[in-house]
């Protein structure tokens, strides 16, 4: 039987190794994926995964359990991955967009919602796996992160917002822009 979030948190806050064993068992893939979706590199994603669990070890006493453990871990991993990405870009003098533009607080002109049509899905089916990987790699990291949480991990828009620590309209906007990006990417080819 799966251990609940409060049970795991209690074990972690007692510094019981069993709590970490469960945490790694249940969430190592989630953390790795969150990092990989931003970094698009296996080694960097592994480094960020280690960093994330070390942060948990150091900060778990301060976590009050207001959000789900998965959301908390995702946030730590995403922030660490974004820092990692920025540090790498500074080193190489490059700039890869993390998001489309800074106007994320604005309402989307046509906010994405759960019932909106999804033209990118039929486009995806005509593409090879390699082309989809390339399209995702070129998508701004924050859009990619929101889009995959929604599409692959099956989170609802409020859950995406909670996981990424953004408000609901920002989550809708990211999803909308991610879909727009894919539609344009595959239509232009």
């Amino acid at each position: 039987m799966a251990t609940s979030d409060p049970e795991i948190l209690a074990l972690l806050q007692q510094n019981d190794p069993r709590g970490y064993e469960i945490l790694l068992e249940d969430y190592a893939d989630l953390v790795y994926r969150a990092a990989y979706r931003i970094l698009q590199n296996e080694q960097d994603a592994e480094d960020v995964t280690q960093e994330t669990f070390l942060s948990v070890y150091r900060q778990v006493q301060n976590f009050r359990g207001d959000s789900k453990l998965s959301s908390w871990l995702h946030r730590i991993a995403s922030n660490a991955a974004i820092d990692h990405l920025r540090a790498g870009q500074r080193k190489q003098g490059q700039e890869t967009p993390l998001e489309d533009d800074p106007g994320e607080g604005e309402e989307s002109p046509e906010p994405a919602d759960e019932n909106a049509p999804h033209p990118e899905e039929s486009l995806l089916q005509q593409e090879s796996l390699e082309d989809i990987r390339r399209a995702l790699a070129e998508m701004p990291a924050k859009l990619r992160s929101a889009y995959l949480l929604y599409m692959v991990d099956g989170l609802s828009l409020p859950q995406v917002a909670e996981t990424l620590n953004i408000n609901l309209s920002a989550a809708k906007l990211r999803l909308h822009r991610a879909r727009q990006f894919l539609t344009e990417y595959f239509s232009q080819r």
Partner: protein, 288 residues
């Protein structure tokens, strides 16, 4: 009963397992009797599966093992109880490690073979170039010798003509002098006769010079012929060397392909390495 209009917008969320339980049940009931919606759902699921495959790698076993090690290092520094690494993970990491070692050995073997065949091809090129250099050198020596021979003939011929002319002139002058001494009348015409002999000797010398010039031209022609032959030989040898170089390039390409195939096979083996079913590994602690 739900209609298409009510169900169709829910299919995408249904494919992501993101619908609340009551709606999930409604969609499932509708799908049981609606082929159009089943097809639509299949498209959503196919797109989702593609995205999942393109975007969702799991942390590989060696990385997972390093994660346990890292946490245990920190805990060991603090004197805390260490985490236990699941036996399955240890066995998996072990299987991958041994597959990697085996693949590494095979790649090294293929690389050794490739290096040997490339070295052999290189030696063949060196041999061809050496043969070529020897042949060109032989032609050059032959052409040089021919030229030298002609130059000697030319000088000999020139000297002989001069000697002959001088000889004739001397005997003719002696004859005129001797006749002049015996016959005073002939002595009156001697200067004119001597002049005539001189003109004749000059004509002979001119003829000799013409011959020398002709011989010189012939020699130059032979030298040019020798040069052409050398050139031809060089081109021929160059062609053979190029052929050998192409051979070595082909060998290197084949060798590279062999190594690449070996690396590919190795990667596949590592990828597919699984621990034995009835493993005897038990839970172990990973010490820092």
């Amino acid at each position: 009963m739900n209609t298409h209009q009510e169900i169709a917008p829910l299919l995408e969320a249904y494919s992501r397992r993101a619908l609340p339980a009551p709606e999930t049940a409604q969609v499932a009931a509708h799908l049981a009797e609606c082929e159009t919606c089943r097809q639509s759902l299949a498209k959503h699921e196919a797109a989702r599966a593609l995205l999942q495959e393109a975007s969702a790698p799991a942390l590989p076993a060696p990385g997972r093992l390093r994660l346990y090690q890292k946490l245990n290092e920190i805990r060991a520094e603090q004197g805390e109880k260490l985490l236990q690494v699941p036996a399955e993970l240890l066995a998996q990491a072990l299987a991958k490690g041994s597959a990697a070692a085996q693949a590494g050995g095979e790649v090294a073997k293929a690389s050794g073979k490739a290096a040997l065949s490339v070295a052999n091809s290189g030696a063949e090129v060196a041999r061809t170039m050496h043969r070529g250099a020897k042949a060109v050198r032989g032609k050059a020596l032959k052409a040089g010798a021919k030229s030298a021979h002609h130059a000697k003939d030319m000088v000999d011929e020139a000297a002989q003509t001069m000697i002959d002319s001088a000889h004739i002139l001397t005997s003719e002058v002696a004859e005129v002098v001797s006749e002049s001494m015996c016959n005073p009348v002939k002595a009156v015409f001697a200067p004119a006769r001597l002049a005539g002999k001189g003109v004749k000797a000059g004509a002979r010398m001119a003829k000799g010079s013409l011959k020398i010039a002709f011989s010189g031209a012939k020699s130059a022609f032979r030298m040019a012929q020798g040069g052409l032959e050398m050139g031809r030989e060089s081109v021929k040898q160059g062609g053979e060397t190029a052929k050998s170089v192409i051979n070595i390039a082909q060998t290197a390409l084949a060798a590279r392909n062999q190594v690449a195939a070996s690396v590919g096979k190795g990667m596949e083996k590592v990828q597919n390495a699984h621990p034995p079913q009835e493993g005897d590994a038990s839970n172990n602690e990973i010490l820092p």
